[in-house]
């Protein structure tokens, strides 16, 4: 027992899996018959057709609605205990493991636990093995920690949901997949988690499957992710046939060797990393595959918070950071990553300005923030990316949960134009959300400030960065501040624009929802303090913690880059910091001006530039473009292939061959017309020919 608690690392993913099994059993054996009976539908085995109430509102979505009050069945309490319980336990185990890991010397902080050999075929040997190192420990803690809070929140949020147990099955399954993703010690196992989270995302987005838009969104998410996965798959093939292994440690250890021997050319590294990045764009909703994320808001709000803000969508960033050793070998890829990140950041921020659905604003904000993280990766600042990933997990989860609380209070209303003045109804929600908004806007002292500024600074100073990237990112930061405050002002301040009926029921959420909010608010404030940069007198603990993962590669791949950063004067760093804060404040000020002082102004602006407003409001028509350019095309081609090629051409040949035989038979049968004279004639003709032949032969001879 040299490893102590670390030997129980397997419990971290195993506990949520246990939750899946237990909740699954409950969902299948208890909840299913219960719901069927409730809906008046026949049970298995066929007890005759039921004639239940099938009014549509009843089944479609009952979250937060004034749905008929059923007695809370006992099984729900059990589920409400198991589901967050297992995740909480996983968090505790993960925390203990990380503490145990932290007690080791810095260069020994990689722990691998091999569970069983998974796939073995010839030289391919992929074990099911977990790896805990600084990077995965950050991820594991964020995932289990935030995940636990969101599970607790869900208990309250989903309390009116009929398929309560099913929801938690999916949620626990997601935790399991996500933990496999971050704890895997090789690409293939990571890919299992990678697709697993995509699957859970699909299931949870389409949780209210009776809503067409929900199931559409789920499918869209899965397919967009699949396109990315295609890249990861190919990248894995290249990695395996180049390095002969898929295990992280083995792959990265071979990098210098293969680099020297010329096997791993820059071109090859570029291809591998670009393919990996394609996967990342799918999972982390970057241009061009970002379109699924806003639609994913069809899912329950805690799901949006957990999957589409805090954890799953950051998997792309994690993967890029994990593969940093490869990325640093491919400057072209780095540039692509940085540019895509920056463009996505500003592009989706502009879309966020005009959205009126509270969750969609947050969704575009998420896309934008993820762009930041990729910008950080692209300029080689992987630590900053992970740092921002973590702080973003806190405040974006908080924002989503807060919006969920608002939606909950308003019986499912998501349109900000029908909110306003909610401050007095939901004080806790307001306070916590305000903190998060400050954090995301980059107000000094809060977590978002430190992480975002780190990225901005790296974008400016790193060898991969440029002032241009900094400019885009800073501008995006300003826009972020603007639309986030727009959201806050529209929602909580001003006069109420609520439906009176809804207003009557407006209420603060139960403690299971508000306590997670408060905890996350604390984290949003304090979460950044572990990474205060040196220039502000901090010790940047976070960077030191991750140094064993990133520094060897930084040293090997881009040593000069790290040094170049050092040469910039501290004054410049502080100056830029101040500038970015100023930009953010401008954004806030503008929001205050437009949505508090001159509330009629936004509509005027929209009228002044109708085309621009229209384009931005419709998200630059990207969805429509994809629909037109890709989906329509493929469907048309497919129908063409089926009807023209398959049915007409191939079957035409096949049936044509059959028809040919039949037609030939039809002709040939005339020879046997059944008329005796005909037979006599053919006999004669044969005789003539035969004698002719004999004659011919005799003449020839």
């Amino acid at each position: 027992m040299v490893n102590g608690i670390l030997d129980y690392l397997w419990l971290v993913p195993a506990l949520p899996l246990l939750g899946v099994v237990l909740n699954g059993a409950i969902a299948l054996l208890v909840e299913r018959p219960f719901l069927l009976k409730e809906a008046g539908l026949p049970l298995a085995g066929g007890h005759g057709a039921g004639h239940g109430s099938h009014d549509d509102a009843h089944g479609a979505s009952s979250h937060g609605s004034a749905h008929g009050h059923h007695e809370t069945p006992a099984y729900r309490k059990l589920v409400a205990f198991i589901a967050p319980g297992v995740v909480g336990a996983a968090f505790v185990v993960a925390l203990l493991c990380v503490l145990s890991l932290a007690s080791r010397p810095a260069d020994g902080r990689t722990f691998v636990q091999i569970l069983f050999p998974w796939i073995q075929a010839g030289s391919l040997l992929v074990p099911a093995a977990l790896q805990l190192d600084p990077l995965s420990s950050v991820m594991a803690l964020v995932v289990t920690g935030v995940g636990f809070l969101i599970h607790v929140y869900s208990v309250g949020y989903m309390s009116h949901e009929r398929a309560f147990a099913r929801y938690f099955v999916f949620l626990n399954l997601f935790m399991f997949a996500m933990l496999i993703l971050v704890l895997a010690n090789n690409y293939l196992l990571m890919f299992v988690g990678w697709e697993g989270v995509g699957l859970c995302s699909y299931l949870l987005i389409g949780f209210w499957y009776e809503k067409q838009s929900a199931s559409d969104a789920g499918k869209k998410a899965f397919v967009a992710n699949r396109i990315g996965d295609f890249g990861v798959l190919l990248a894995m093939f290249l990695v395996f046939w180049t390095f002969g292994s898929l295990t992280y440690t083995e792959v990265f250890a071979k990098v210098p060797l293969l680099r020297e021997s010329g096997v791993l050319t820059t071109g090859l590294a570029t291809v591998i990393t670009l393919l990996l990045f394609l996967g990342a764009t799918g999972k982390s909703a970057q241009i061009p595959l970002y379109v699924w994320l806003p639609d994913a808001m069809e899912g329950p709000t805690p799901v949006s918070a957990l999957i589409h803000a805090a954890t799953m969508v950051t998997a792309g960033v994690y993967m890029v950071a994990r593969s940093s050793a490869l990325f640093l070998l491919a400057p072209d890829t780095m540039m692509v990553v940085a540019v895509i990140g920056a463009v996505t950041a500003i592009f989706s921020a502009t879309i966020g300005i005009c959205q009126t659905d509270i969750k969609r604003v947050l969704a575009y904000s998420t896309v934008s923030q993820l762009g930041y993280m990729f910008l950080a990766c692209g300029v080689g600042a992987f630590t900053a990316a992970i740092f921002h990933l973590m702080t973003h997990a806190f405040f974006k989860a908080l924002l989503f949960l807060g919006s969920g609380s608002v939606i909950h209070a308003l019986s499912g209303e998501q349109d900000m134009q029908k909110m306003g003045g909610l401050k007095k109804y939901v004080p806790v929600t307001f306070a916590t959300m305000f903190v998060a908004t400050l954090a995301i806007a980059g107000i000094p002292g809060l977590s978002g400030f430190f992480s975002k500024d780190e990225i901005l600074w790296q974008a400016f100073s790193s060898s991969h960065g440029s002032p241009f990237l900094w400019g885009i990112a800073a501008l995006a930061a300003g826009i972020t501040a603007f639309y986030m405050f727009r959201l806050v002002f529209l929602t909580f301040f001003g006069k109420s624009r609520m439906d009176p009926e809804v207003e009557k029921h407006a209420h603060e959420s139960p403690w299971t929802m508000t306590v997670p909010l408060m905890i996350l608010a604390v984290l949003s404030v304090a979460g950044g303090w572990i990474g205060i940069p040196a220039v502000l007198g901090g010790s940047n603990l976070f960077e030191h913690w991750l140094a064993p993962v990133f520094h060897p590669v930084a040293a090997a791949g881009a040593a000069h880059g790290a040094e170049a950063a050092v040469h910039h004067p501290a004054a410049l760093e502080i100056g830029l910091m101040a500038l970015s804060v100023a930009i953010a404040l401008c954004g806030i000020g503008l929001a205050y001006f437009l949505y508090r002082v001159r509330t009629g102004k936004p509509a005027e602006i929209a009228k002044q530039w109708p085309t621009l407003y229209d384009v931005v409001y419709h998200k630059y028509y990207i969805d429509e473009f994809y629909e037109w350019a890709v989906i329509r095309r493929i469907v048309t081609i497919s129908i063409g292939l089926w009807e023209m090629f398959d049915a007409l051409f191939i079957d035409g040949i096949v049936n044509g061959a059959a028809d040919l035989v039949r037609a030939a038979g039809d002709r040939v049968r005339r020879l046997q017309g059944g008329v005796v004279g005909g037979y006599a004639f053919s006999l004669l003709a044969g005789a003539v020919l035969l004698v002719g032949y004999i004659l011919y032969r005799s003449v020839v001879q």
Binding site: P42, G45, G59, P117, W642
Partner: protein, 523 residues
Amino acid sequence: MTGVALLDQHLLSVLIALPLVGAALLLFFPQGANDAIRKFTLLVTIADFLLSLSVVARFDVATAGMQLVERAPWIPQYGISYIVGVDGISLWILMLTTFIMPITIASTWSAVTKNVKEFMVFMLVLETAMVGVFLATDLFLFYIFWELVLIPMYFLIGVWGGERRIYAAIKFFLYTFAGSVLMLVAIIALYFHHYAVTGVYTMDLMKLYELTIPVKLQLWLFAAFFLAFAFKVPMFPFHTWLPDAHVEAPTAGSVILAAVLLKMGTYGFLRFAMALFPVAAADWTPLIAVLAVIGIIYGALVAMVQKDVKKLVAYSSVSHLGFVMLGLFAFNLQGIEGAILQMVNHGISTGALFLIVGIIYERRHTRLISEFGGLAKVVPVFCLCFMIVTLSSIGVPGTNGFVGEFLILLGAFKVQKWYAVVAATGVIFAAVYMLWMFQRVMYGKITNEENLRLTDMNGREVAYMLPLLLFILWIGVYPQPFLRRMDASVNAFVTRFEAKKQAALAGSPAGETMLVRYFDGKK
């Protein structure tokens, strides 16, 4: 001979003969005793499955060659014998066959109500033929079993099928028969060639393996075998019998067709076409790989726009079998092991899909996607099963489909990068068409009144679906037991393939195989 000794020494023969004996006994059942007939058939198939388990138990992992071999002279003056054996290549396909049979029989309980006795007799004869195909190692014996499969299947489609059953049955029969006749010619040619070289008449596959066949002859013989197997697989563009046969066949027929009959084609490639004619196989690889890749993409695209669930699944089979072919013609361990595993996977998941379709068809008597919608609410257990099977068909990690596809693409990627890249896009399309179908069937509101009265899967249906789901997850999570038993045989296959190829090339004038020379020259 006592029973124990019989099982001990003639296990494989018993496996082959048992269903046939069952079919014979079935003839003594009175015409109307449907329940007894069903139970008896189920019993026979389960017994066969249990016996086949002991094949796995007695299978030696380290042996590459044929195991549990039985041989007996049959027509000795022509060198024809009865030889059966099992190795790592055929083991799992054999197991798949015996495994899927009881499940299929169980699925017919309420689906087949007319001529039950005849139906069951055909099913049992079919099982004998299928098991025989995978166990025979004498070409003549193999050919007999190969053709024997056609007859019961023809009747299953033609008698118990849907509206256009006659068309489908004849199309199925002629398509596959056209190919196998050519194969017969090739077998005879091979037979005489062996005689010409060694002076011995034999149809023993193991002896024929030892032959070094001149390159030119290989090309012709391979062409004949190729057609026979390509029709059966079916490879693009020989696939059009499949959608018709699947759509018209009764559920049990579709399941067997998808799970086992298609595998006969891919198995034939591996065991005969590739093993006997390595130079030709290598020579044809570009063509076959291109067809496989086209099949993958084409099948997926066409599946996407189908209106009939069964037809959709049928086209998805074209796509999946394209993967298998691509894996086989990678000629490396990963590709071939992946392909064999994928054969089993496809049998399980597509078989399960057809069962799923059958379950819903039995209740609604339609398979049109547009007739459904919102079923998830009324039939949750069905929905869960459907979901897992769908995921397996898509190849989501954790299910069996992933392991197979991954190994295939990994193997193919090594030798034919671009084919693998294009094939990998098939993974995306698979998600599109399966999920779209799933969404249209299961999600949304219930728009059709009739669907409200649907009943969920009953105990029997759950009972036969469970083993399939179990294997979907088992192979996905822990494929080692399956892969390990293939290792030795596949390894030996790959080595022998390369050695035989070189030997044949060395012994023939240059330029007879343009392609191989061309590609080898480029390296």
